[in-house]
Symmetry: C2
Subunit: 774 residues, 2 copies
Amino acid sequence: MQLSNHLQTDTGWEFYERTFDPEQIVTTGSNFMVGNGYMGYRGTFAEWDAEHYVACVVTDTWDTAEPGRLTELCNVPNPLYFQVRVNGETLSAFSGKTLAYERAMDLRCGLFSRRSTWQGRDGGPVTIEEEKFASYDDIHLLVMRYRLTVEEDAEISVLTGIDGRVWSISGEHFRSQEAHTLGDTADLIAMDVRTVEYDTLIRVAEDMTVQGSVPVHTTLRQVERRVLREMTFQLRAGDSLVFEKYASIQHSNGVTDPQAGAVATVERARNTGFDALLAAHRSCWERIWAVSDIQIEGDLESQLLARFNVFHNIIHTPSHARLPVGARGLSCQVYQGAAFWDQETFNLPMYLYTQPELARRILEYRYDTLDGARRKAERLGYQGAYYAWTSGKTGDELFPDFFFTDVLTGRPIRNHFNCWQIHISPDITYALWLYYEATGDWDFIERCGAEMAFEIARFLGSRVHLRVDLDRYELIRLLGPDEYHENVDNNAYTLYLSHFALDKALTLYRQMTERSPQRLTELRAAIDLTDQEVDYWQDILNRLYLPKPDSETLLIEQFDGFFNLEDITPDTLRERLIDPSEYWGWPNGIAVHAQVLKQADLLQLFALVDDFSPEVLRANYGYYEPRTEHGSSLSPSVHALIATKAGLQDEAWRYFKEAATIDLYSRSKKVMSGGSFLGGIHTAACGGIWQVIVRGFSGFEIHDNTLHFQPHLPTPWQRLRFPLTYRDNHLWVTLDDEGLVVEAQERNPGTVNVALDQRTLAVAPGKTVRLATV
Amino acid sequence: MQLSNHLQTDTGWEFYERTFDPEQIVTTGSNFMVGNGYMGYRGTFAEWDAEHYVACVVTDTWDTAEPGRLTELCNVPNPLYFQVRVNGETLSAFSGKTLAYERAMDLRCGLFSRRSTWQGRDGGPVTIEEEKFASYDDIHLLVMRYRLTVEEDAEISVLTGIDGRVWSISGEHFRSQEAHTLGDTADLIAMDVRTVEYDTLIRVAEDMTVQGSVPVHTTLRQVERRVLREMTFQLRAGDSLVFEKYASIQHSNGVTDPQAGAVATVERARNTGFDALLAAHRSCWERIWAVSDIQIEGDLESQLLARFNVFHNIIHTPSHARLPVGARGLSCQVYQGAAFWDQETFNLPMYLYTQPELARRILEYRYDTLDGARRKAERLGYQGAYYAWTSGKTGDELFPDFFFTDVLTGRPIRNHFNCWQIHISPDITYALWLYYEATGDWDFIERCGAEMAFEIARFLGSRVHLRVDLDRYELIRLLGPDEYHENVDNNAYTLYLSHFALDKALTLYRQMTERSPQRLTELRAAIDLTDQEVDYWQDILNRLYLPKPDSETLLIEQFDGFFNLEDITPDTLRERLIDPSEYWGWPNGIAVHAQVLKQADLLQLFALVDDFSPEVLRANYGYYEPRTEHGSSLSPSVHALIATKAGLQDEAWRYFKEAATIDLYSRSKKVMSGGSFLGGIHTAACGGIWQVIVRGFSGFEIHDNTLHFQPHLPTPWQRLRFPLTYRDNHLWVTLDDEGLVVEAQERNPGTVNVALDQRTLAVAPGKTVRLATV
């Protein structure tokens, strides 16, 4: 099936292109990337280098190159570097003639493949076949197979090894770089780098096998930050030579001896061989898809889009350690490989019901960074835990005071993401409560969750202000999800989420009193929590201002005074731009004094807090949607989700398509700006798509320990099928015109209640139940 | 004595220039102006018109030309228009040759005079002598004498009458303009205009006498918004002709029948004649100076500067009605003829001790506009009285949302003077308390003061926020006196003034309980005031956050986080300007993120609230003074005042000179900007000079019903002498090296306690006491 953007799919499990577009290497490099939550390797060609945004981004390698530069993950030296000269001419996608071409991504097992037939100035066509994957069976392992076939006799030379000439967005992260030749044979090579800030040692090791019937002459060379094998050989017409490269990247933040570890991994891999490694990797993916796949019948494009987004939500999420999901995942260094609120509100919900242990790890990461959040709160004059807007290793704030530059004046802009966007803290309580609901994991609450919820409530207690004359608590000077409006009061989203967070902190406090009094006593002592403070939370909860829908219009004002701002559409407003790349928001962008939203704000509230009628959703959707500019990739999926809940099917379908194709169809307007790389996978949108389908189109909600469904499938979809994990029970849910089918796994520990249109049935282990549409 | 800026003085009672600088007509037009609190007539030449900023600005004529334009006072038609042609050539300061020239201002009686000897292309020199004054004996009266003398025979023609071609900063204020010839003879002419917004009828009437021995042929003409007499005559060598013009401006906001009233005034004036009118006017000034003069021996320049500033503080202050003192007074339309906080904090203190009835009128004006302040509070979601930042007739806010324009982008800047600069309200309580202290006027408190103080306290009650966790009330999102920093929390100035205002509201409440229980009962009912609300004020008073001096550095932070801003001097900061006319403040001006102040802020606090030791003053002066850019004319006088109190004599002297010469030496950097007139008298600086001398150099303070002095006279001053009025007692105070002499008037109602260096004496009526310096 032909898709947009030169892409095709045959089964909905893969996508491929047969046209190479050199203008799109930033986005295709992301879309075709491989990854395993530990590392991401961009979907570039083996012959490329930094100039073409080849990158291998590795978790937990945060570094600040120099004071004032952004902290970010490292692009590590590239072990899959592979330069080919044919009859003295460098083989390149950008010169000579490409006679045939295909680049494909097999989502079923995260396998990249490329086949190019290239014709140089002299001699006949050369075909290269490249396959690579980042192993899920051994996360430190990156494997590539590279096959060369010639149609006429040819003199070939290959330069392959480790390329340390990495590109980096925010400065040079390596204070030192050392090449080594190691192992049983001199074929095993390595490069050790040490980072500037923490002196993290990163070892990239690589070994290679060559299969073929021609003699190969190999010499080792070190040139300009590369350690290379130079291999020369002659191929006869029809001959092939196959190179298999086994690379491992290990660093001192993740393992105790990265040097020995990387060598051992590479040696083990070389001894195992490409095919066996791929088989083991494929088995891992089978297990992942068994709990994560979304199956759509009736629209192959939707099927592929669903899998593409789920796949990316998976490969960017560290499953091996308590580490964050980056806003661009491991697709590049943009957004610093750091967690934002997206992690809890966009990425995490999918894990709750597919791989809850990943959800737990994400929340444990937030527990590990609680001290960072405490430091941030203290620094800003608050108490408790004020989580970083941009959170890396320690949880200390990575977002700089001055982020954007005013293109009209060249002056830096003081944004307040790092000090006024307080909803990040209650967003985390939201996520931990969802996790607790989906898993019933009291152990987590005892160990981590209660303390986090208490410290977040404590933060809110120091952040609210009481308007004595109005007898209400308020939240002043906020930056809500709509980031074009900084410095607002009583942002509805923030108020409701804060209310939620206080409510859950108090609920957990009461549950701790009953279920874990000893731990509560310890915790109270550890964090100096008094009855008086808990009473204070209750008082805030009772009197926190919650803007209600207007009795006539049903509208909720996004923040105090929003309705008094200039009422203008985003398109008309856009005409006021002096420079198309102007920032629209604070302090004096064109949207600041207008009712124009960067992204969903009230709708975002509805996506999280389930207190509002469909009529309220519809009224507010009708008001805010035309005023939303969607300057954030977070916006379309929320619109799709709320549209399903508001009964606006056409809108839901339109925004689903928009959200699902942000990356695959390269819809993101800016991938490069002023020479800066801004590409990468919008991981939140990926997580959002799961929510649109499972929470939106299938109408999945949990109330009273029952899984409710209220499907509104898009017209082209004949059937929707997906697995759910709920409190250790594994289910497959099928929805179609006829109704709901739920299949429970034999080994489920218990019975699960499911409901369609409020009619409830219990599903016992190994059983299948059907509920027909009325 | 030669002064700066081409000026001279002989006695300290007058200043004059003998060099005409056409580049300076904006400022000299203000410096040489005449006025009487009802009207201001700029010190321009009779031959000039709108092009040269001739203007007659009249109180209480506020008008908005069209929606979106600024409300401002009208420049009324000019009745002193006087064009002269000599042998067919127009006499002009800008063409021909000026052989001799003097322009003088006699401050003793507010008399403008000019003498020019002009040489045209043909014929001999012509000398013109022009004198004018705005009568204090009859505020509606403006009088001019114009004498023409020729040295050779000449053919003269004169065009004189009323020129309706006025200039206006914010649009055309006259919807209609009608010329009339009236009176006993056709010589009396008038022009009636009606304003756009309120249809105010303004009549300008004028009559003239001609004295001389030559026949004059006169015809009446109406041309292009002028009603004119064309007069032709021949003068012989040595002949003079004297024209006396009597003009009256009356309007329907001030009198019931402005048409008849203006005619009657003019006729009466013409019958009285110039000399007698001047004598009556002079008597008024004698009475004014008897209670207001400042006499300095030892430095003639200081003497003149003191009188110049006191004079201007007087002539711009309406003494005939409850109307505000404009920030540029009646010198032009700039700042809309409206009251700002300057009125209470800079202009009013002089009146308290010189003409307390003027201070009362100013405060009664605030009482009259209480409803406007209530409307503003309500509109912004508060209670009580939130006074307008820019206050005209009704007290409704005249300051627009968008005032400045960003010169770099051409976009309007949303400033928040009109919503965050809340200190205006407590500033008014400050002034009314000072008035009450200086006069003991309980009647005023009963009628107006208590209600104002209560409504201001009520406003503060709705503006504070309680930080429950810190157990303190805070004031969030402020704009303090330092206007480069909008949107700050806990500005110390605003907190202390609010504390003061709450304290005085409670004090007045208690006094009302005792002294005027009946009126209190009525007032409580009228404004719906409960015991609970009064208790709430007490609670705020008890728990309002007041930033204290640091125990080591003695510094008080100007607002939360000020000390964390970039520490840079104003001069270094200035180098970052892209355009020299950039606004430095909100939202993204160069000072926003720097420790650079527009004007005194902490020092301003010290000028009003007397709670701090000289050591604290000195420490904070040392810190803040080098960081102050003095972008406001309010700043230097406060620096001088605090320097005296901090014992920094050199600084005091430097800033006194700076503050006192802002207008006279044309030190204001911008009088025209982008073609807009920004000139005018800085009336607050004028009022500030009185405070520097009387409160600062003489160390005058009132404690315990005793007038304390602690003089620190500038080195050149041998003696300082000034009158004080205190609770109906009139005193003359003399300070010199030997000590203090206080002379009490015979008709004083009581004894006054005076103190030098804490030694106290009582001064009975008619007595003189001496206290020697120890």
